[in-house]
Symmetry: C2
Subunit: 183 residues, 2 copies
């Protein structure tokens, strides 16, 4: 669409705006991919073992921290799809992008808070499962449920990557906003 | 100091720039206060109880999650002192502030990631201490160490408040940057 006022055409002629949009687009795809992998890997972590006469099951649903983790990364996955699609549509329209840069930054900061706390919550429960805690007699879990713990560890690694990507997204949006402020 | 180019004087004449600096200043003070309280309350949580013939102690140092929590909020406390002092010095110089707004936003995002994950990590350990986990035979701790758990809970509440303040700081910096982009 043809713009009517001059500042907008000044933006679209700047190549820098396009470059940031491309990075934004890549980072949002990475956030989507890592959220999806984190959710799928933790959701498929169920393991059943027969110990003596009884059958015992390790399931992420038994821990509120893992449930919060799954919900948080489902939210960030959905969020990244929406903003990924928005980011694609902005690739050709850098002036439209400016309008949404602030909204992106607002939501990115919220999502960072949610997924970073979820990664911390699930990580500390996984650490107790791996090492146990002798002071309060919390026994190790991972020596029995090896496959379960491998899934949790894999999911946590991907989640940490997703959190770093979200920090980079905030940095990119901030840098992109800052580059448009007249010096 | 007298500025030589006109955009700077245009900023200093805008009252909006000053208002944001004041909010920034208040939020950084709140982050400092909540970091300090969170650190002091968790550091003083030690409780000793004699159960039968043996004396048992609950100490935050026994849990890596609580140690990470203490370190994270010590870092955010120090960071908030530095940026709080910087923010005071910018109250009278909104044009100097612009130069550092981007750096503030970068570091604020990192600090948010650190303290949100620390709050999540300590929160999930505290939850297991409060409720226990029957599936893996992790017993409750808080029914014995009541004072210890009250300290942890208080520290977590203040930590959550500090995390929200950090999100607001990012929002404020983003809004402040956005308000300087010509429409």
């Amino acid at each position: 669409m043809a713009s009517t006022d001059k500042p907008e055409s000044a933006y679209s002629s700047a190549p820098a705006g396009n470059d940031y949009s491309l990075f934004d687009f890549i980072l949002r795809f990475l956030l989507f991919a890592s959220s999806l992998v984190a959710v799928v890997v933790i959701a498929t972590s169920k393991q059943t073992k027969t110990i003596g006469p009884i059958e015992r099951e390790a399931n992420f649903k038994n821990s509120p921290a893992f449930i919060y983790f799954l919900v948080a990364f489902s939210v960030s996955g959905l969020y990244s799809i929406l903003t990924f699609l928005a980011s694609i549509s902005f690739l050709q329209k850098p002036d439209l992008k400016l309008k949404y840069l602030l909204h992106f930054l607002f939501w990115d900061a919220l999502i960072l808070g949610i997924i970073a706390s979820a990664t911390g919550a699930a990580g500390s429960v996984a650490y107790i499962g791996l090492k146990g805690d002798d002071h309060v007699n919390w026994n190790k879990v991972c020596n029995v449920f090896d496959k379960f713990c491998k899934h949790i560890a894999g999911s946590l690694a991907v989640a940490l990557f997703g959190s770093v990507v979200t920090v980079l997204l905030i940095w990119l949006s901030a840098f992109s906003l800052h580059s448009r402020v007249p010096k």
